[in-house]
């Protein structure tokens, strides 16, 4: 449907442009026009397209919630009194019936009679919104076009007005960034708020037990659900620490070598290779972790365990022999590999920003290169490198695919890298990809976790950027 409107609007806009240009040409005869005919045409085009697009955008954002409101408002009591999710299912089925598809559930007597009635009413509401919205858009286009036509006079400053519109459009493009942030905060905060109504925020942040399974039926055996996120935070920190233990030294040392020692040709070979490592999608790293690194590490530790069993370290041997693929070490190590090029390229930039005069001074005093690096460059670049490492930490915390594919689901509260742990991101994916029950604490808890994740990474990024910024200004 929206395609037809867009087609009509494109045609109207083209007509406005051509018509405006022609009209401007005719009216300019004998006068001394301020703007060229094409600029008048563009002005007419904007006045046709902009109001209509605004209507269409508003329509696409607000049509669905409005439709829900209207549907809920006129519904008969039998339906309105249903439980929340039963009512949702009923409306979903009514929607299906309205489109001529069979209902998914069998509804009993009073509801069964309401189903076709409600279906017809929903179709009516949907049609009204669609046709009304489309008509409003076309009306807006026509009104805008008529206004523009009255403005086509030789003395109209069409170019300046068009430029004003362009300026506004460019500003809106930039403002989208702010809107995105607001959108993230609003969507996370809204659902998190509902989650914190069911589970107190204190229990969530400081509780030590995480098992989000809630019995769906009252008589079902199972836990009642525990939403203490500390095991997830600890698991995330553990995997992040392992990753940083791999990425920080390797990334930093390779950056130092590349910026201080390597010849031009070495740099020309190594840097693109590191960029390849950086460009590999994380799902590929996840596959690598799950099917290559995990089994290798498991076999390695199992062999050691078998070797130790029966000896003086029998207990340790018994433990190592049963280590699993999904240990924290697997995900951490692979995440570390993923972060190497990130740390390396950021540190490289920072080392390159240290003025050459510092190096020259140190060499003049007879220091070797490594002494220059260790005693002059690194202290000078320390804040920048700290910022780079903080950015890497924030990426490690937010990384999803590697941990989803290679780390486990068991929320163990442990600091042992050979144990299975789970992370915030793994839980978000697990909670939102299975069978979802809308409005349950289980589903909503994902948004609570998301909000925590967003806040932590945001703070880390702000600090890191601030550090890097002040450091850069120091040498600029």
């Amino acid at each position: 449907m929206i395609w037809i409107y867009l087609l009509i609007l494109t045609a109207l806009s083209a007509a406005a442009f051509l018509g405006g240009r022609e009209l401007a040409r005719r009216r300019a005869v004998g006068a001394h026009p301020h703007s060229r005919p094409g600029q008048h045409g563009a002005y007419a085009l904007i006045w046709v397209a902009a109001p209509a697009l605004l209507v269409l955008i508003l329509l696409s954002v607000f049509a669905a919630p409005l439709e829900r409101q209207l549907t809920a408002a006129g519904t008969p009591d039998v339906v309105a009194e249903l439980e929340h999710f039963r009512r949702d299912a009923f409306f979903a089925d009514a929607h299906r019936v309205g489109r001529g598809e069979p209902a998914l559930q069998i509804w009993e007597r009073p509801l069964a009679e309401q189903l076709p009635v409600e279906a017809r009413r929903m179709v009516r509401i949907e049609r009204t919104l669609q046709w009304g919205g489309g008509a409003a858009a076309i009306l807006a286009a026509i009104l805008g076009g008529l206004f523009a036509l009255t403005q086509i006079k030789p003395q109209t400053r069409a170019r300046n007005r068009v430029e004003g519109w362009i300026y506004g459009a460019l500003f809106i493009c930039s403002a989208i960034a702010v809107l995105t942030t607001l959108g993230i905060i609003a969507s996370l905060a809204f659902d998190s708020f509902r989650f914190f109504q069911k589970v107190p925020i204190f229990d969530f942040l400081f509780g030590a037990q995480w098992s989000p399974q809630i019995a769906i039926r009252a008589d079902q055996v199972g836990s009642t659900g525990a939403f203490g996120a500390v095991p997830l935070f600890v698991g995330t920190m553990l995997i992040m620490s392992i990753a940083m233990c791999v990425a920080a030294p390797i990334g930093l040392l390779s950056a130092i070598y590349l910026s201080e020692y390597a010849s031009r040709t070495t740099r020309a070979v190594i840097k693109p290779l590191l960029e390849i490592l950086a460009g590999v999608p994380t799902v590929v790293y996840g596959f690598f972790a799950a099917l290559t690194v995990g089994p290798i590490l498991r076999v390695f530790f199992n062999e050691i365990g078998l070797f130790l069993m029966g000896g003086p370290l029998d207990g340790l041997g018994q433990y190592l022999a049963l280590v699993q693929n999904q240990m924290a070490l697997t995900a951490g190590a692979v995440m570390g590999i993923m972060l190497i090029p990130f740390v390396s390229s950021l540190s490289d930039d920072i080392l390159n920003a240290v003025p050459q005069s510092l190096r020259d001074g140190s060499f003049a005093m007879g220091a070797t290169k490594s002494e220059t690096v260790k005693r002059v460059l690194l202290p000078a670049a320390l804040p920048g490198i700290a910022g780079a490492l903080l950015l890497a930490v924030s990426r490690a915390i937010g990384e999803t695919m590697i941990v989803t594919m290679a780390a486990g689901l068991a929320a163990n509260l442990t600091f042992n890298p050979l144990d299975t742990v789970t992370t915030v991101t793994v839980q978000i994916v697990t909670l939102l990809t299975g069978d979802q029950e809308f409005n349950s604490a289980k589903t909503l808890s994902a948004f609570g976790l998301g909000l925590t994740l967003f806040m932590v990474t945001l703070v880390l990024n702000i600090i890191a950027h601030r550090i890097v910024q002040t450091y850069r200004e120091q040498y600029d």
Partner: protein, 434 residues
């Protein structure tokens, strides 16, 4: 005087000091060499990781690019083939029983032998036979050779990935089935060839029929939406910030905002997409339109940053010259600065699209984890995407999906390499050094 010993210092003390100095110098040089080797080792480690990653993926994935087909003669028994409704006939059973008869093997009462034989053929057999009967009903009553893929496990055996040494209860094929496969191969009815199904089919629950085409098309549709939204918005935002923005608080907020958005974890964009586009706007779940919108929001900050640096590289003299000639600010930017910055802008755009192509986490949250058969063709229908297909296949229990996962990764990496190469070529050919 060859020895550098000043006269006024006692000879022995001077020699001791010199020795200390020399020893110290040696130690310092050794340290220097060691430090250099640390750097080399670090780079070597990174390169080895890259090599292992690539070699492992090619090693796991290359076998998926060929597959085995068996040619079985099937007598289209008029008693058992339904002329009016060929899809309803049990061609698999028919083919299996006839194969056993040809080899003179008696099927047992429970039909165990024929069931085992049937398991060697792909279920594609049914569709190939039914299509043939539907097209040419005169084949009924005749014997026709049908070329059908082997089942996934049989295929793995012929590729040497299932060993006869493995105890029978630890593999899905019985000793008898393996013997039959050997016999088929000895008879020469099994042929190996390039696995076209991998590139012409959509996803399927049967590994031997599963292909990446559906996911490739899904990813392409999604990237199209992303590019249509992100590139104009990103370039617009960069132009405003670099060329028009007044120096004030609002501009500062927007700038800080964009830098921070670039570092927001991608899964948070997935949560945004789920809450905003699916739960609030009721856009269809797992559709390219939702995926494209989410990826566009995610790609926007990097695109803005890349475009801004491309705009920064255009020297101010160009702007000044245009302004001096009487061009307005807008005309300067759109007729002079932006065209000159275009190679840089396009490079940034392609690289951020390549990045969006490989992004997985947000797609999982907007529903692209479910099985979508066939090849999509609309932007408002559920689709699969290449990275989410990799995730789904990696989780599949059939072993044959593992090699196909690696093959799908190879396909994804090839696309990314093509895009990145295009970006590099663009940069090399058109970028101007001022």
């Amino acid at each position: 005087m060859t020895d550098a010993t000043p006269d006024h210092i006692d000879g022995a003390a001077a020699k001791g000091r010199l020795d200390r100095l020399r020893a110290g110098l040696k130690r310092r040089h050794a340290k220097e060499t060691r430090f250099k080797w640390y750097g080399r080792l670090a780079i070597a480690a990174a390169m080895i990781f890259l090599a292992i990653l690539m070699v492992r993926i090619v090693a796991q994935g290359h076998t998926a690019f060929y597959t085995h087909t068996v040619t079985v003669p099937v007598y289209m028994d008029p008693a058992r083939v339904d002329r009016a409704y060929p899809q309803g006939s049990n061609f698999e059973q028919l083919a299996a029983e006839q194969q056993l008869k040809r080899w003179g093997i008696q099927d047992d009462a429970a039909g165990d032998a024929s069931r085992q034989m049937k398991a060697l053929f792909s279920s594609e057999l049914k569709f190939v036979a039914a299509d043939l009967v539907a097209k040419r009903s005169d084949v009924i009553g005749e014997t026709v050779p049908l070329a059908v893929p082997l089942s996934d496990e049989a295929d793995l055996y012929l590729k040497g990935e299932i060993s006869k040494e493995t105890p029978e209860d630890q593999r899905r094929l019985t000793d008898q089935q393996l013997a039959w496969l050997d016999r088929m191969q000895a008879e020469g009815v099994v042929g190996s060839h390039f696995n076209t199904a991998l590139f012409t089919n959509g996803d399927s629950t049967q590994p031997e029929l599963a292909g990446v085409l559906g996911a490739v098309v899904g990813s392409a549709l999604m990237l199209m939406v992303t590019a249509l939204i992100a590139i104009p918005l990103g370039v617009g935002a960069a132009v405003w910030l670099e060329e028009f923005a007044p120096k004030n608080k609002l501009t500062d907020i927007i700038e800080v905002n964009i830098n921070n958005l670039a570092a927001v974890p991608s899964i948070v964009y997935g949560l945004l997409g789920l809450a905003l586009f699916i739960n609030w706007m009721h856009l269809p779940r797992a559709s390219p339109i939702v995926g494209g919108l989410v990826l566009a929001l995610m790609a926007l900050p990097t695109l803005v940053i890349a475009t801004r640096s491309a705009l920064k590289a255009v020297p101010p003299s160009i702007r000044e010259a245009a302004l001096a000639m009487g061009a307005s600010k807008t005309q300067t930017v759109f007729s002079h600065v932006l065209p000159l910055a275009m190679p840089g802008v396009m490079t940034g755009a392609i690289i951020s699209m390549a990045h969006a192509l490989g992004e997985t986490a947000p797609l999982l949250l907007i529903g692209m984890v479910s099985f979508v058969p066939g090849v999509p063709h609309a932007i408002d229908q559920p689709v699969g995407a290449l990275p989410s297909l990799i995730y789904i296949w990696e989780n599949a229990s059939e072993r044959a999906f593992h090699e196909r996962t690696a093959a799908a990764i190879i396909v994804l990496l090839v696309f990314m390499i093509i895009m990145n190469t295009a970006a590099i070529i663009l940069r090399r050919r058109f970028e101007r050094r001022w």
